[in-house]
């Protein structure tokens, strides 16, 4: 069997690292976010979309994060399944609500935006449907975890589900392209240059980076909390049993 990577086997090292890394990512997120928002807000209103274009600065980053977080969750699931490492499991568990939150934000901002843009809150279009299913997968993951009593069992079951989800997500993502779609195609990055005007492009990039570091910070904090919770539980168990 391949040995587990050192950062997994040594929670102490992780705790030491995250102690300073979490606040640092948080600070970076604030700086980038403020810069991005300021740039974005000072941009001229779009000729077509007027003021509502500014939802873009929340919508695109949250949409990307919702997928990125699932990738993190899947990798953590794999690590915890192969090496049975509690730290990886804590990471997967900590990521799920964050990812669900980003997904929900994407759905909400998209809906808010869809109303003025498409004249409807919701259409059964490819992107939207796959995003909704991503949300369902997050919900299923959390529900599975929450409904098992034994932590070790819950961890392995959830890790299996995390991997199944990783297999299925791309399939859903692409299978819905069978449908003629209303939603925007790739426009930030695409061959032949961005479709976004530079005034929008740079703020979006800044805010995406801000979201990523915000996620990093929150994730580390949540993993730390998870580690503390498990330690406290183990200690309580020891104390109770004498």
């Amino acid at each position: 069997m391949i040995p587990a990577p050192a950062f997994l086997t040594n929670p102490e090292r992780f705790m030491a690292f995250s102690r300073w890394a979490a606040p640092m990512f948080g600070a970076i997120a604030v700086v980038l976010g403020v810069a991005g928002l300021w740039l974005g807000w000072s941009a001229p209103p779009d000729y077509q979309q007027s003021f509502t274009v500014r939802i873009l600065f929340i919508h695109i980053p949250t949409a990307w994060m919702s997928e990125f977080v699932y990738a993190c969750l899947a990798v953590a699931s794999l690590l915890s399944l192969v090496w049975r490492q509690v730290l990886a499991d804590a990471a997967a568990q900590a990521a799920a609500p964050l990812g669900a939150g980003f997904t929900l934000l994407t759905l909400a901002t998209g809906s808010l935006w869809g109303r003025p843009e498409w004249g409807t809150w919701w259409v059964w279009d490819a992107r939207l449907t796959s995003e909704l299913i991503l949300f369902l997968i997050y919900l299923g993951y959390m529900a599975l975890r929450a409904s098992m009593d034994d932590e070790a069992k819950a961890a392995r079951a959830a890790a299996i589900l995390g991997l199944v989800g990783a297999l299925i997500l791309p399939v859903i993502h692409y299978s819905v392209y069978w449908w003629n779609t209303l939603h925007q195609g790739a426009s930030v990055f695409r061959s032949g240059g961005s479709a976004l005007a530079p005034v929008f492009f740079w703020p979006v990039i800044l805010i995406v980076l801000a979201y990523t570091s915000a996620f990093g910070s929150l994730w580390l904090v949540r993993i730390r909390g998870e580690v503390w919770r498990r330690r406290a539980e183990a200690a309580a168990l020891r104390a109770a049993r004498g």
Binding site: T120, W122, V123, W124, L132, G140, A143, S147, W179
Partner: protein
């Protein structure tokens, strides 16, 4: 009274589970509402036409799915024996069980139903009616479903059998509720559908427990 309160708490807890009960049922409901447009195509006009009806059928199916275990577990593990050997009449016990089922799953589903209908393209002003229909309908589904669940005790394939027994009982509320929604959309008088739905629910809240108790006693003997 404290006995019935304890039963209500237990049944709700069993139906709800510790880990996010309403979350789970609402998630399921969202899933049902998602599959339909995937299968019949996303054209908004076509979808909008069937939106309220589909949300409504989704509610019935979700209730169906959660009914399955109303009595069966208690029957199989012997808890029903103990529930019977009590000063509380079995009819009342059955009624509390169904009511708890409705509290734990019907009510959250009723909250989700308007969302699903609007997501499928129903007009916004339909939402309150969908909610009320779902709330009352959920009561009817819980109490009619309980009859099926009790009747199929001890049968093989209890789950599917429940479904087959229960579906005919679900037909009238589905028609009444669907009719009320359709009339409302068409600008016609819609209260009669709602009243019929309420009357149906009331009748089964009153009569259902009698059948359930008889079926349970029969299964035990």
């Amino acid at each position: 009274m404290s006995r019935l309160g304890a039963l209500l708490a237990r049944e709700t807890a069993l139906a709800w589970g510790k880990g996010g009960g309403p979350l789970v049922s609402v998630g399921f409901y969202a899933g049902v509402a998602t599959l339909l447009p995937l299968a019949i195509g996303p054209e908004p006009a076509r979808l909008a036409a069937i939106a309220p009806g589909a949300a409504w059928v989704g509610l019935a199916l979700a209730s169906l799915l959660s009914l399955d275990r109303l009595f069966e577990r208690d029957y199989e593990d012997g808890a029903l024996d103990h529930l019977v050997l009590s000063p509380t009449p079995l009819e009342l016990t059955c009624a509390v069980k169904c009511f708890a089922q409705w509290l734990a799953t019907g009510a959250p589903l009723a909250l989700a139903a308007p969302v699903a209908a609007i997501a499928l393209g129903a007009p916004l002003n339909l939402a309150p009616l969908v909610f009320v229909c779902a709330l009352i309908g959920g009561l009817a589904f819980a109490f009619t479903g309980g009859i099926g669940a009790a009747l199929s005790l001890g049968a093989r394939r209890g789950g599917l059998l429940t479904a087959v027994i229960v579906l005919p009982l679900f037909v009238p509320p589905v028609i009444f509720g669907g009719g009320a929604l359709a009339s409302y959309l068409a600008g016609l008088p819609w209260t009669s559908g709602l009243v019929l739905l309420g009357a149906y629910a009331a009748a089964f809240v009153a009569l259902g427990p009698l059948f359930m108790a008889a079926a349970c006693r029969n299964a035990l003997s």
